[in-house]
C-alpha cells in the first residue's frame, strides 16, 4: 500500500515538474525582465545628395553613388538625335483603363517605333518599345522591359525583372529593376532640376551614361571598359 502511495506521489511530482519546468524561464522573465524596452525605431538615413559632380571611370565597380551630375564611363555624350514625327499610340484589344490616366495590359506588349504614348502603362508581361518614340507617363512591366534606341520616357520606370535601356534613351523619373539594369551609351536619367534614384540588383553600364541623382546596385554595379 505504502509502495503504491509512494509511486503515485513520485509520478505526480515528476509529471508536475515536467509540466511546470518549461514555464520557469517565462516566469523568471516576467518577474525580473531582462529586455522590456520598446523596440527602437531606426530613423532612415538622412537625404544625401552627394557632391555636385562625379565621374566613374571605365572598369569602376560600385554599390551606391550620389551626385547631382554623375557620369558613368568616359567619352562625350552622343548628341541627341532629332525626334521623328510621332503617331499617337492606341491601346491593344483587352487593355483596360488604369489609375488617373493609364492602361493595364494583361500580356506582353510591343510598341512599334515612332509612337507617342500619352499615358502610363502597367504590363503583366514583357514590354518592348522599339524606339525612337516618346512615352508620357510611368511604366511598370512584370517580366522584362526593353526601351529601344532614342526612346524618351517622361515618367518613372519599374520592372520586376530586367531592364535594358538602349543608346540615346532618356528617363526623367526613377528607374527601378528587381533584376538587372543594362544601360547603353548615351542614356540620360533624371534632370538637373529633379534628381532621381536608379536602383537594381545588378547594374551593367556601358558608358558614357549620365545620371542626375543616385545609383544603387544592391549586389554589384560595374562600368564596362571601353
Amino acid at each position: 500500500m505504502n509502495d503504491l502511495l509512494l509511486w503515485s506521489l513520485l509520478l505526480l511530482t515528476v509529471t508536475t515538474v515536467l509540466l511546470v519546468l518549461p514555464f520557469y524561464p517565462a516566469w523568471s522573465e516576467w518577474r525580473r525582465p531582462r529586455d522590456r524596452q520598446a523596440q527602437a525605431v531606426d530613423p532612415p538615413a538622412a537625404l544625401d545628395t552627394g557632391p555636385r559632380a562625379l565621374q566613374l571611370a571605365p572598369g569602376a565597380c560600385f554599390n551606391t553613388v550620389h551626385a547631382r551630375h554623375l557620369m558613368l564611363g568616359s567619352g562625350a555624350m552622343p548628341a541627341p538625335s532629332a525626334q521623328p514625327t510621332l503617331q499617337r499610340w492606341q491601346p491593344p484589344a483587352g487593355a483596360r483603363p488604369w489609375g488617373l490616366h493609364g492602361w493595364h495590359i494583361g500580356h506582353h506588349l510591343d510598341i512599334p517605333a515612332n509612337q507617342l504614348v500619352p499615358c502610363s502603362l502597367v504590363v503583366r508581361g514583357r514590354l518592348r518599345a522599339l524606339g525612337p518614340g516618346r512615352i508620357e507617363g510611368d511604366i511598370k512591366a512584370r517580366d522584362g522591359l526593353h526601351l529601344g534606341p532614342g526612346t524618351k520616357l517622361q515618367g518613372n520606370l519599374f520592372c520586376e525583372g530586367d531592364i535594358w535601356l538602349d543608346a540615346g534613351c532618356s528617363v526623367s523619373g526613377l528607374v527601378m529593376a528587381e533584376g538587372s539594369l543594362h544601360l547603353a551609351p548615351g542614356v540620360v536619367i533624371g534632370t538637373p532640376q529633379h534628381p532621381v534614384s536608379v536602383c537594381a540588383d545588378v547594374m551593367d553600364v556601358h558608358g558614357p551614361v549620365l545620371v542626375h541623382g543616385s545609383v544603387q546596385a544592391r549586389i554589384r554595379g560595374s562600368v564596362a571598359c571601353a
Binding site: P22, F23, P25, A26, S28, E29, W30, P33, R34, D35, R36, Q37, A38, Q39, V41, D42, P43, P44, A45, A46, L47, D48, T49, T64, H66, W98, G99, L100, G102, H104, G106, S120, L121, V122, R124, G137, D138, I139, K140, N156, F158, E160, G173, L174, M176, E178, G190, H194, P195, V196, S197, V198, C199, G213, S214, Q216, R218
Partner: protein, 462 residues
C-alpha cells in the same frame, strides 16, 4: 490596424496534423462497422469523422503556410525593391490622422508629423476629429492656428460612427493622389512619410503598409506578449507575403492608399469594421498591389488591460469575417489576380476561422468519443494529444514569433514564449463569438457598431 494574426491564428504543425488526418481517414470505416446499435448513429459518426478530417485539412493548410513564411524569413531573400529610392520628385500627399477622443495622445502625434523631413509644401496634415467629446477639438484647433499652412482640422460632429465613415467624409480634404493614414496614438519618425510614399511611384501600387511596434511594450505581461505577437505579424508574416509575391495587408494606419485606385474600387465602405482588410481585398480584386515596407517603422500603443485587448480582438475578427463573407467569391473569380495572390488572399481572409475551427475539432473528437466510437477514438487519442501538444507547444505560430524576435535582435524576450498559450486561450472564445456575430450580421443585415480602443498616453523611455 493590422490584425497581428499569428497568435490569433494557431495551426498545428504539419507532422501532427497529418497524423490525425491519416488516423481519422483510417478509422472512419472502423467506426461505421463498430456502431452496430443503429444505422443512423453509424452514419452520424461517419459524417462527424468527415467533418473532423475537413477541419484538420484546413488547419494543415495554415500549418504549411506558417512554416513556409517562417522558412522564407529565416533563409529566404528579403524583397523590398524600393529601398534604394532616396531622391525623386516628391508628389503632393495628404496625411489623415483619425481621432476620436484622443486628447491624451493627439498632440504628440501632430508634433511628430510636423517635424517630418518630407517637403513641407507638398504635405498637408488633416486631423479627422470624429465626434470627440473630450478636449481633442481644442488641441487640434491650437495646432491649426500654429501651422495654418500645414495642419487642417476636419471636425465631424455627426454622421455614422467609425473610422471608415469618418475617413470617407474627410476625403474631400485630400490634396494630390496619395493619402496616408495614421491613428492618433502614432508618432511617426521624421523620414517615415518619405518611406511610405516611395512605392506609390510604381503605377501598379494601390496601397502601402509600414511596420508598427508597441511603444508601451514594457508596461506589463500583456503588452510584452503583444509585442511578441506584433513582431511575428510584421517581421515574419507581412514581410514573407511581400517576399513571396503574396498579399501584404494594408493595416489602416502607418500606411496609405492611392486615391485614384480607391475611387476606382468604390471608395471607403463605411459599413465595415475592418476597413483596412476591406480595402486590401478590393484593391487586390481590381489588380492593384499592396506593398509592405518593414523598414518604415512607427510606434503605437497596445492595450494594457485584458478586457480592452479582447474587445479589440473581437472587433478585428468580426471585421475580418465580414470581409471574408463579402469578397471571397470575387477574389476567386478575379481575372487579374495571380494564383499566389488568390491562395494567400483566401488564407488571409480565413485567418480568424482557425480558433472556432479548432474548438469545433475538439468538440468533434469529444462527440465521437461519446458516440461509442471507442475503437476508432482509441486510435485518435494519442494523435489528438499530439495535436494538442503541437497547438500549445510547437505551433508554427511560435516558430513565427521565435524567428521574428531573433531577426529583431531581442533574444531574451523569447523566454516569455510559453506564456503566449495563455493569450491564445483567452482569445479562443472571443474569436468564436466574433464568427457567430459576423454570420448574424450577414443574415440580419444589422448595423455594425464601432468600438474604440482605449489609449494610455505612454511615452517611450529614452
Amino acid at each position: 490596424m493590422l490584425r497581428s494574426t499569428p497568435l490569433l491564428a494557431p495551426c498545428p504543425s504539419r507532422v501532427f496534423s497529418s497524423g490525425l488526418v491519416i488516423s481519422t481517414l483510417w478509422s472512419a470505416p472502423v467506426l461505421a462497422q463498430d456502431t452496430n446499435a443503429t444505422q443512423g448513429a453509424s452514419e452520424l459518426v461517419l459524417w462527424l469523422s468527415g467533418l473532423l478530417v475537413a477541419v484538420m485539412v484546413y488547419m494543415l493548410a495554415y500549418g504549411l503556410r506558417q512554416a513556409l513564411f517562417a522558412w522564407q524569413r529565416m533563409w529566404g531573400r528579403t524583397r523590398y525593391p524600393y529601398a534604394g529610392v532616396v531622391q525623386a520628385d516628391w508628389p503632393q500627399v495628404t496625411v489623415f490622422v483619425a481621432a476620436h477622443n484622443e486628447e491624451a495622445v493627439i498632440a504628440q502625434s501632430l508634433q511628430a508629423l510636423v517635424t517630418s523631413d518630407y517637403p513641407h509644401e507638398r504635405m498637408r496634415i488633416v486631423v479627422v476629429n470624429d465626434r470627440s467629446s473630450d478636449g481633442t477639438a481644442a488641441i487640434v484647433d491650437q495646432w491649426v492656428a500654429r501651422h495654418p499652412d500645414r495642419v487642417q482640422a476636419f471636425h465631424r460632429r455627426g454622421g455614422k460612427p467609425g473610422k471608415a465613415a469618418a475617413l470617407k467624409d474627410a476625403m474631400v480634404q485630400a490634396q494630390g493622389d496619395i493619402a496616408l493614414v495614421f491613428d492618433a496614438d502614432y508618432t511617426p519618425a521624421p523620414g517615415l512619410i518619405r518611406q511610405l510614399v516611395v512605392p506609390f511611384f510604381d503605377p501598379e501600387v494601390g496601397a502601402v503598409m509600414g511596420r508598427v511596434v508597441p511603444r508601451n511594450a514594457g508596461t506589463n505581461l500583456l503588452t510584452r506578449l503583444l509585442e511578441l505577437e506584433r513582431a511575428a505579424g510584421y517581421q515574419v508574416d507581412q514581410q514573407a507575403r511581400m517576399d513571396l509575391h503574396g498579399v501584404p495587408q494594408y493595416g489602416g494606419t502607418v500606411g496609405g492608399v492611392r486615391l485614384s485606385a480607391l475611387r476606382a474600387v468604390g471608395g471607403w465602405h463605411d459599413d465595415v469594421l475592418a476597413e483596412d482588410t476591406d480595402i486590401t481585398i478590393r484593391l487586390l480584386v481590381a489588380g492593384w498591389k499592396t506593398v509592405y515596407n518593414n523598414e518604415a517603422t512607427c510606434h503605437e500603443e497596445v492595450p494594457e488591460e485584458w478586457p480592452v485587448r479582447l474587445r479589440q480582438v473581437q472587433r478585428w475578427a468580426r471585421g475580418h469575417h465580414q470581409v471574408m463573407l463579402r469578397h471571397s467569391l470575387a477574389l476567386m473569380r478575379s481575372p487579374t489576380v495571380t494564383w499566389q495572390e488568390r491562395l494567400d488572399g483566401l488564407l488571409l481572409l480565413g485567418i480568424f476561422l482557425n480558433a472556432p475551427l479548432m474548438l469545433l475539432g475538439w468538440g468533434l473528437v469529444l462527440g465521437l468519443y461519446y458516440l461509442h466510437g471507442f475503437d476508432a477514438v482509441g486510435q485518435w487519442i494519442p494523435a489528438f494529444a499530439l495535436v494538442l501538444q503541437a497547438c500549445l507547444g510547437t505551433f508554427a505560430v511560435f516558430m513565427h514569433t521565435t524567428f521574428a524576435v531573433l531577426l529583431d535582435g531581442h533574444r531574451e524576450r523569447l523566454r516569455l514564449l510559453p506564456l503566449q498559450g495563455a493569450s491564445f486561450l483567452a482569445s479562443l472564445p472571443v474569436m468564436t463569438r466574433a464568427l457567430l456575430g459576423a454570420l448574424l450580421d450577414q443574415i440580419t443585415r444589422r448595423e455594425i457598431v464601432w468600438a474604440k480602443t482605449r489609449r494610455y498616453a505612454t511615452k517611450v523611455n529614452p
